[in-house]
Amino acid sequence: MQITKEKNGNALTISVSGRVDTVTAPELEKFINENIDGVTDLVLDLKEMNYTSSAGLRIILKTQKLMNKQGVMKIVNVQSDVMEVFEMTGFVDIMTIE
């Protein structure tokens, strides 16, 4: 798993690539925690993310809850396999996925 970020004022884009599983998820959580302060416009770019387990979903949901309080969150470029997971778990209904 690799994580990159692009910050533009209060807008932040976090790009995640590779596998988000139980082993790598804590790293993503830490990364988001360290960068989320003051962000009102968050974009999660999952173009290169080809796998996520419930550990990854947990963090996405947690981040969504946080962003509901301080701004908006948008998930973009979701691969079809991952999209199936989002659909299966009802994430598509509670998140903005483009």
């Binding site: 139980t22 796998y51 387990s53 550990a55 979903l57 947990r58 778990t89 509670i94």
Partner: protein
């Protein structure tokens, strides 16, 4: 508890000592002088009194005295008494009286002349009438009366110096009164006060004490001054210098020749030298410590380089299912001379190396690096182990200035057949555990150690490994590990430990041995490097079962195990991801919860029955059915939704069937999916 003595200075204590000694001495001299003076004064006083009394006695007519006893006094009596009174006043004594003693027992006497002069000593005596009779006052008088009457002495003196009945201190001198025929008929007693005597004595005493004290004081001052110059001042200087130096002012001060007293001069010189030496030592220590730190840092880097010069990431070949390998190296010092190595020469050949360089530490580590590089390079070029060892020996010998040597065991395992060609340059024989058997030593031809002699020829030998066999290489640090009682593990002990773990994976076997060695050695320090390598030539059937410690860290191993099998079974990518996801959820659940805080085993088995994949998880942890948990409500809003609980739900959704049972003390979770 001992009371702390009050702190004092050297000068004060020296002066105190001198003054005390002198005062004691002068007091002693005064007392002795006084006693001597008092005795001679007393005796002189008694003598002069005697002479006065003797003179007075000439006034008394002894014949008349006897007459008065029998017939009473006459005219002449008054005349004599008158003279006696004048004499008494002239010579300034308290009392003169003449007595006639009853000689039967000297217990009574009769007084005739009695003249008193009270002014002398402010007394209040009354004069006795002539013929006044009295009993003798005490035995002292009685003895003396007797001595006078019997003519044994010319005079006697009675000292009344300790009087308690209110009378004044005095002496009484007794002289005989004789008649015309020379017989003693009476005694003249003269009482003389001692106040003047006492006054003289007191005057003497005060004078002598005064002089002694003055002399003491003068002596004390002189001695103190001399002491101060010769001892106290130099010692104070020394003390000041040491206080200055020890308070952290680390500059060598020079005391120099501060005294002509040899001991003090030596002390001062020693302190000068000690300060210089100490500064020198501290400088030395500082640079040595810095150097040590630098070497320590370099050793740390060297350790990292050495550790990374051999494969140390496990599983080393996660893509290979036909063998499993694990190795460990524990140097006695930061860096060691032992090493192992293993690498695939090609897809079908696995090279195994274990070696032990003579000596330990940095020299051994450098030698080890060189040897390892030569062996691995030469192995990649092809050839049999015997050829490789001969080549290595030749190269090492050419540059072996330090006369070091290294024992090497090198084997090349043909993975498709299990045939291993090996050669041994003086190394310990390996151990092998046949499938369903026990570990035992495999003895083979052993050649000379590498580096000892140029031109040595090594011989190849063959060991056939069968599926399920385990092969174990080690250095002598293992059988020769020694505990505090100087007992070694020995080869037999090593085999025993090995057999305790023989059912386990190579990694678990080595961890088990390391644990056992640690327990055996106890507090004794590790003397030799300890290096081990274990390879399992895996049974094909076992390839569908993975047993490991149920930890999150092992997740990747589980996934690669499953992925390898799925790929072999031509599983579509999408299905593989779904299965991966389910495997992760179930496995992580076991890793996190089955054994509480502890670590236990998990077994994952894989089956393919005509396109239906069955994956079964087994663990011996707390009985728990994860499928019992209610599915999360996925229609709720983000705010209302629980963060967890999605894993099992997704597993159920992704797999065709998921079932749980608790059987034979194990949680058994089975998931099925059609490809």
């Amino acid at each position: 508890m001992k009371k702390n003595k009050k702190s004092t200075t050297l000068a004060a204590s020296v002066i105190r000592g001198i003054v005390t000694a002198l005062v004691l001495f002068s007091l002693l001299v005064s007392v002795i002088g006084f006693i001597w003076f008092a005795e001679s004064l007393k005796s002189e006083y008694a003598k002069s009194t005697y002479r006065m009394a003797d003179t007075a006695a000439t006034l008394i007519d002894g014949d008349n005295l006897l007459k008065y006893v029998n017939e009473g006094i006459d005219e002449q009596y008054h005349e004599v008494k008158e003279k006696l009174g004048i004499f008494c006043r002239k010579i300034y004594v308290t009392m003169i009286y003449v007595i006639v003693v009853d000689t039967s027992d000297y217990g009574r006497f009769q007084s005739f002349y009695n003249t008193v002069y009270n002014e002398v000593d402010n007394t209040d005596y009354d004069e006795w009438e002539p013929g006044h009779k009295r009993d003798t006052t005490n035995d002292d008088y009685r003895m003396k009366y007797k001595a006078i009457y019997e003519g044994k002495s010319d005079y006697e003196t009675v000292y009344r110096l300790h009087i308690t009945d209110g009378k004044k201190q005095h002496i009484t001198t007794l002289v005989p009164v004789k008649n015309s025929s020379g017989e003693v008929v009476g005694i003249l007693c003269m009482q003389r006060p001692v106040s003047s005597l006492r006054n003289q004595m007191l005057q003497f005493l005060s004078t002598i004490v005064f002089i002694a004290l003055i002399l003491s004081a003068v002596t004390a001052i002189i001695v103190t001054k001399r002491n101060k110059k010769n001892f106290v001042a130099p010692i104070q200087k020394i003390a000041e210098e040491t206080v200055r130096f020890s308070s952290g002012d680390m500059i060598a001060g020079k005391l120099g020749e501060i005294s002509h007293v040899e001991e003090i001069r030596n002390l001062a010189n020693s302190i000068d030298k000690m300060e210089e030496d100490m500064i020198h030592y501290i400088e030395n220590l500082t640079s040595v410590t810095a150097e040590k730190e630098r070497i320590g840092a370099e050793l740390d880097i060297a350790k990292t380089i050495q550790e990374n010069s051999i494969p140390n990431i496990f599983p080393a070949f996660p893509e290979r299912n036909d063998f499993d390998i694990f190795a460990s190296m524990t140097p006695a010092k930061e860096v060691g001379g032992d090493f192992y190595n293993f690498f695939l020469v090609d897809d079908d050949h696995l090279a195994l190396v274990i070696a032990d360089v003579s000596g330990k530490g940095v020299p051994a580590a450098l030698f080890m690096m060189v040897t390892n590089i030569i062996i691995s390079d030469r192995t990649h070029m092809g050839g049999t182990p015997a050829e490789i060892l001969a080549f290595t020996n030749k190269n090492i010998c050419e540059h072996n200035k330090a006369d070091m040597f290294v024992t090497v065991w090198l084997g090349i395992l043909e993975l498709s057949t299990g045939k291993m060609i090996a050669a041994n340059a003086g190394h310990d024989d390996p151990a092998i555990c046949r499938k369903d058997g026990s570990f035992e030593i495999v003895k083979n031809k052993r050649g000379l150690v590498i580096g000892a002699m140029d031109g040595v020829v090594y011989k190849d030998f063959e060991i056939q490994l069968n599926k399920g066999d385990k092969f174990f290489l080690y250095t002598d640090g293992l059988p020769e590990a020694t505990n505090a009682d100087e007992k070694m593990i020995t080869i037999d002990g090593m085999l025993k430990i090995l057999n305790c773990h023989k059912e386990k994976s190579p990694m678990e076997i080595l961890n088990g041995i390391n644990e056992s060695v640690k327990q055996f050695v106890g507090d004794a320090s590790q003397f030799d490097d300890l290096t081990m390598l274990c390879v399992e030539y895996k049974d094909e059937e076992c390839n569908n079962i993975l047993t490991l410690d149920a930890t999150v860290e092992n997740l990747r191993r589980v996934l690669s195990f499953v992925d390898d099998l799925l790929e072999k079974n031509d599983c579509p990518m999408k299905t593989q991801m779904q299965i991966d996801l389910s495997v992760e959820e179930i496995y992580v659940n076991i890793a996190n919860y089955a054994y509480g805080e502890g670590v236990g085993k998990a077994e994952i088995s894989f089956e393919n029955n005509n396109g239906e994949i069955t994956i079964t998880f087994r663990d011996s942890g707390t009985p728990y059915n994860p499928l019992d948990k209610a599915d999360p409500d996925i229609t709720l809003s983000a705010e209302e939704r629980d963060i967890g609980g999605l894993g099992i739900f997704m597993t159920k959704k992704n797999m065709d069937r998921v079932s749980y049972e608790y059987k034979d003390g194990q949680n058994v979770l089975t998931m099925k999916k059609h490809l």
